[in-house]
């Protein structure tokens, strides 16, 4: 069986999608000749030519806005924002047009645009290279937002995102680019809108996405060694949320910990907590606890491990809810 890194699996997803759909374009800053800062578009320009895979000037609003125009002309695009914070210049185009064009035109003009954004921290990056931009997108109606946590699921989610007639914000956990997984690449399996249980458990559920999934699995190991069997859920799809799975976890474990890197206030944890109140209040035996980044700007490399939820912080929260 082949072994894949996340970067390699995403690269293969783009390759397979480019092969299957001759009207698919891949472009952005440094994605062509260089193959992307994280090698996700490596070799694609050579294979598919500089008409289909190309570099752009440093113009994030321009990159996203041209994808909107290309969609009018019947082209599908995968565009890259080089790093999380560098997607902010394109927010106006995303919120005003990418998210709304289908509705505005009453379904006549779809926006099959995938916006890939290397996201989150943990790589000792510089300022603006470690942010968690998901809230800005998840709150914006008309978008879908997904985050893979493993190579094989990265392949699957990226293929699904590209195939989706709706725009998808595809957040790639930078810290996991070189993580490895064995198996066959397959676009089928859980779809956008579905989470997955990565570890069964009854005492509580640890809900996370991206890089924090691995930390939750580690925390579950720690907890297991203490006799607490924590379930671990990889959310995968932040918008739409897998309400069925959330409800099931609340019913079956009654105790929920949500983990993310983004600052706590109006991070995904808030929505998970509120949604669980909507759906399963009577099953909650403890408050939904949020283990998150602090409400501060993402810190410099020297402090990032004090910002990111640690295995110990996650385990501690689980102990707290389990003993509530």
């Amino acid at each position: 069986m082949a072994e894949w890194t996340l970067s390699g699996a995403l690269n293969q997803a783009l390759r397979d999608a480019l092969t299957e759909d001759p009207r698919l374009l891949v472009y952005g800053e440094d994605v062509g000749r260089m193959g992307g800062v994280f090698r996700v578009t490596d070799e694609l320009q050579k294979e598919f030519g500089s008409q289909r895979v190309f570099d752009t000037p440093i113009s994030e609003a321009g990159i996203v806005g041209t994808a909107v125009g290309l969609a009018f002309a019947g082209w599908r695009s995968v565009v890259e924002m080089q790093f999380d914070a560098f997607s902010y210049p394109s927010l106006e185009q995303v919120i005003d047009h990418v998210a709304k064009m289908r509705e505005r035109t009453r379904g006549r003009v779809e926006m099959p645009v995938t916006i890939r954004i290397p996201s989150f921290g943990g790589i000792r990056g510089k300022e603006h290279h470690g942010e968690s931009p998901e809230t800005y997108y998840v709150h914006t109606a008309g978008l879908k937002v997904v985050v893979p946590s493993t190579p094989l699921d990265g392949y699957r989610l990226l293929r699904q995102s590209i195939a989706d007639p709706d725009p998808v914000i595809f957040l790639e956990p930078k810290a996991r680019y070189w993580s490895k997984e064995e198996g066959e690449l397959d676009a089928d399996g859980p779809g956008i809108g579905e989470g997955r249980i990565l570890r069964e458990g009854e005492a509580c559920t640890l809900i996370a996405y991206g890089t924090m999934v691995a930390r939750c699995l580690e925390a579950a190991d720690v907890l297991a060694s203490e006799g607490t069997d924590a379930r671990v859920v990889d959310l995968r799809s932040l918008s739409p949320l897998d309400e069925d799975l959330l409800t099931r976890c609340a019913r079956e474990t009654g105790r929920i910990v949500v983990v993310h890197e983004a600052p706590r206030t109006l991070g995904m944890g808030a929505e998970v907590a509120a949604r669980l109140m909507d759906l399963a209040f009577d099953f909650l035996e403890a408050p939904v606890v949020r283990v998150t980044g602090w409400d501060v700007p993402y810190p410099p490399a020297s402090l990032e491990q004090h910002y990111l939820p640690s295995v110990e912080r996650i385990a501690e929260a689980a102990r707290k809810v389990a003993g509530y």
Partner: protein, 358 residues
């Protein structure tokens, strides 16, 4: 005080503006723009009809039948001259002030006015069928769409181009710049058509930029040209050249059409708060309709009967549109939900049911 206007220091070549027919109706350039007598007459007819409709729309707003309406009086030549220069495969990305251009492209005026009635958003008509994009409010964002669309046309190897309309004020946005630079570097078949109507709400163009808009093109590596935007023949000619250039694969052109916003920014605006009525009176001299009528008459291409027919058509068209507008009902509540996503989730469907009171 903060405005500059120190143009003497800037070593630019003399400002030239393409003009074929002077405000008094006399020809000052080569007026043979390659249009048949019918087509020449049609330009006038369209200007008369659209001006009448514009005024009707303002009346409709005053009567509560439209929510807000941004008039285009004074800009008929800029819009109709340019839109007429486009071929059937070309595509337009407009702002919110191009009803006259929309009609040239065959957009149904009543459907267009759904927007200003608050019936639906910027895309009530079918943008693909009319090849006229949705009404676009966020300033300058549509210019980027136009460049993307033109890139698509280029990749498809089509002999077609995309025209973006935008105002003088729009050229101050980052999106204008990114669009223009991308158009240049990708060498796409795009026409960037600026209607410089002298004002962006209350801000006159000289407070918008210390430069001249058409000169921006040089910095992007493609031609920029200034045209008398109230001279419909000149606008047609200049746009036609740019369209043909684009069709030949020679890349983008920036056109700055000098015109004037005769009315307020919109029906919600009171231009008296910031603009001297005398300026408006001075601008009236350059009116696009009267000069062209004089020129056409001098060519013997029109007579009184033609003009009466135009006026009659304008009148009946305006009333027909009025009727269509007032008869337009609010859409059903489910429209809020029906096109947000291609395949809605159960959670979304639940909200929809809730909104429908179910």
């Amino acid at each position: 005080m903060l405005s500059a206007g120190r143009k003497e220091e800037v070593s630019v070549s003399e400002t030239k503006m393409v003009q074929l027919v002077a405000p008094d109706g006399t020809a000052v350039g080569d007026t043979d723009v390659g249009l048949s007598p019918e087509a020449l007459r049609d330009l006038l007819r369209r200007m008369i009809v659209s001006r009448r409709l514009d005024r009707e729309c303002i009346a409709l707003q005053r009567q509560g039948e439209l929510t807000v309406y941004p008039g285009f009086e004074g800009q008929e030549a800029a819009q109709i001259g340019s839109a007429t220069a486009l071929g059937p495969d070309d595509f337009v990305f407009p702002t919110f002030r191009e009803l006259a251009a929309a009609m040239v492209r065959g957009v149904d005026a009543v459907q267009y006015l759904w927007y200003h009635r608050g019936t639906w958003h910027g895309g009530p008509y079918d943008p693909r069928a009319t090849r006229f994009g949705p009404i676009c409010i966020p300033i300058a964002t549509q210019i980027v769409h136009a460049v993307g669309h033109a890139l698509g046309q280029k990749l498809d190897g089509l002999q077609a181009c995309t025209l973006a309309y935008f105002g003088d004020g729009s050229t101050s946005e980052g999106d204008f710049h990114e669009a223009a630079n991308l158009a240049g570097v990708f060498n796409v078949p795009a026409v960037l058509f600026c209607q410089n109507n002298g004002w962006a709400i209350s801000v006159p163009t000289e407070s918008q930029t210390a430069g001249e808009i058409f000169r921006r093109a040089e910095g992007y590596g493609f031609p920029g040209i200034r045209v008398d935007g109230n001279d419909v023949l000149a606008v047609y000619r200049v746009t036609k050249d740019a369209v043909e250039r684009a069709h030949r694969g020679e890349g983008p052109t920036l056109i700055e059409a000098m015109t004037y916003r005769m009315g307020a920014h919109s029906t919600a605006d009171d231009a008296g708060r910031y603009r001297d009525e005398a300026e408006v009176e001075r601008a009236r001299v350059a009116d696009p309709i009267s000069r062209y009528r004089i020129w056409l008459a001098a060519q013997g291409l029109i007579d009184g009967a033609f003009l009466s027919a135009c006026e009659e058509e304008a009148e009946s068209f305006a009333l027909q549109v009025r009727q269509g507008v007032v008869e337009t009902e609010a859409p059903p509540v489910e429209w809020m939900f029906d096109w947000v996503y291609a395949a809605p989730t159960e959670a979304f469907a639940r909200q929809r049911r809730e909104a429908l009171g179910g």
